[in-house]
């Protein structure tokens, strides 16, 4: 894979992660358990959408075929999305949401910090912008995870189950493929092994504070980074893309 192709694929994947997570969060607008969380969820979703837009706009420029950010979001098929599976799983209960956000954002923050030092100027700029936002998300969601884990017997048990269930989707974050490798080599991109060490340590500390057990690493699910998705994903993008697919070019 040459350098240009890897850059385009890498940037598109960053956009896919941000968009898919934000779409899941958008599904919860007006359905969060209390007002503060309602605002938090909507504000966070907006940050991810903003990041997806910046990544997709750049991907469109790199590709050079005149595709816009909207074309990337609304007019690609399931197997063209390369987000990790962790982000496309259905929302579940509140503990599931918090667990997913903590597991992903500890990774994403480390990834963005590394990207803020890569050699591609535009990626560096977007990463530096996004990194500040994710820091704030992580603070909020970590507090919740500790509160739930170290809360009542029921909240502890259910959150422990959330962590266990999601754990099998975390391996994919750190499993490098050709795109990761070329991006790391050619653009001084993130070293996923280093990021994994740091993730494990940070997640371990958060879980310990939350009195939750760190699950054993076993079989890990993967496929999203190569365009092979869970059953849930098609339904999700069908809803997301409905308007543009039914009324092409609709705008307001």
């Amino acid at each position: 894979m040459n350098q240009d192709k890897a850059l385009l694929a890498y940037v598109t994947r960053l956009g896919d992660n941000a968009l898919v997570l934000s779409q899941r969060m958008v599904e919860l607008v007006a359905a969060m358990p209390e007002l503060e969380e309602e605002l938090a969820n909507a504000n966070f979703a907006l940050d991810y959408i903003g990041q997806a837009r910046m990544f997709y706009s750049y991907a469109g420029e790199l590709e050079g075929k005149g595709r816009s950010e909207d074309d990337f979001a609304f007019l690609r098929d399931e197997n063209e999305f390369r987000n990790v599976l962790l982000l496309e799983l259905p929302n579940g209960h509140f503990g599931d949401l918090v667990a997913r956000l903590v597991l992903f954002d500890v990774f994403y923050l480390a990834q963005l910090e590394a990207l803020a030092d890569c050699t591609d100027e535009r990626v560096r700029e977007i990463a530096a912008r996004a990194e500040k936002e994710i820091r704030y998300h992580l603070r909020h969601n970590t507090q919740w995870l500790v509160r739930l884990g170290d809360g009542t017997a029921e909240s502890h048990e259910r959150t422990q189950d959330s962590i266990k269930a999601l754990w099998t989707y975390t391996g994919e974050l750190f499993a490098p493929d050709e795109i990761d490798n070329v991006f790391e080599a050619e653009f001084d991109g993130p070293d996923l092994h280093t990021i994994y060490q740091r993730w494990k340590e940070q997640v371990g500390a958060i879980l310990a504070e939350a009195t939750l057990d760190l699950p054993e690493d076993g079989h890990m699910q993967s496929g999203g980074k190569a365009g092979r998705h869970t059953e849930h994903f098609g339904y999700m993008i069908a809803e997301m893309q409905y308007l543009q697919r039914t009324h092409p070019g609709a705008s307001w």
Binding site: A40, G50, R53, E133
Partner: protein
């Protein structure tokens, strides 16, 4: 047509009263989001977004184009400048004063990484200056604000978060 004598300073002055759509007491100059003006065969205004997903970004860009159109300048191009990323430290002294008068506590200076991860130091009430205040919600009416209350004068107020 762009007049030959047009200077960037003149353009900046025309833009000086373009208001932020979400906090209308602040101008975009107070916010520190105008990064530069270049006068070439068109007028180029460099703006920086505050938050990635800030819905005000597009409104602000349109306001800039409108404000210059009123001065007879028709060919205006907006350039989004991402780097270095905007920080609340760029809000001017004047901007901070206006925020306080409007009832919003201005962001503490030095929006450090530590602060983003570990929370703010004590925030002074914009009405009575007491630092005996507490967080009601980390989130407020817009992405950039948190909700506080003052334990001295008992008034609720918003805090412009450090970023």
């Amino acid at each position: 047509m762009v007049a030959i004598a047009l200077s960037p300073e003149q353009v900046l002055e025309w833009l000086s009263d373009v208001a932020d759509p979400e906090i209308p007491v602040l101008t975009i100059a107070d916010l520190g989001i105008i990064r530069g003006v270049r006068v070439e065969d068109e007028v180029i205004v460099e703006l920086t977004p505050t938050y990635s997903g800030c819905p005000a970004t597009e409104v602000i860009e349109k306001s800039v184009v409108d404000a210059l159109y009123k001065q007879g300048i028709e060919n205006v191009r907006i350039e989004r400048v991402l780097s270095p990323a905007w920080t609340t430290d760029w809000i001017s002294e004047e901007g901070r004063k206006k925020l306080r008068e409007y009832g919003i506590a201005p962001p503490a200076e030095g929006g450090s990484k530590r602060e983003l991860l570990h929370g703010s130091r004590s925030i002074a009430c914009p009405r009575c200056d007491s630092t005996d205040t507490s967080v009601v919600s980390e989130f407020g009416s817009t992405a950039c604000k948190a909700s506080y209350k003052c334990n001295s004068c008992l008034e609720p107020f918003e805090y412009f978060k450090c970023i």
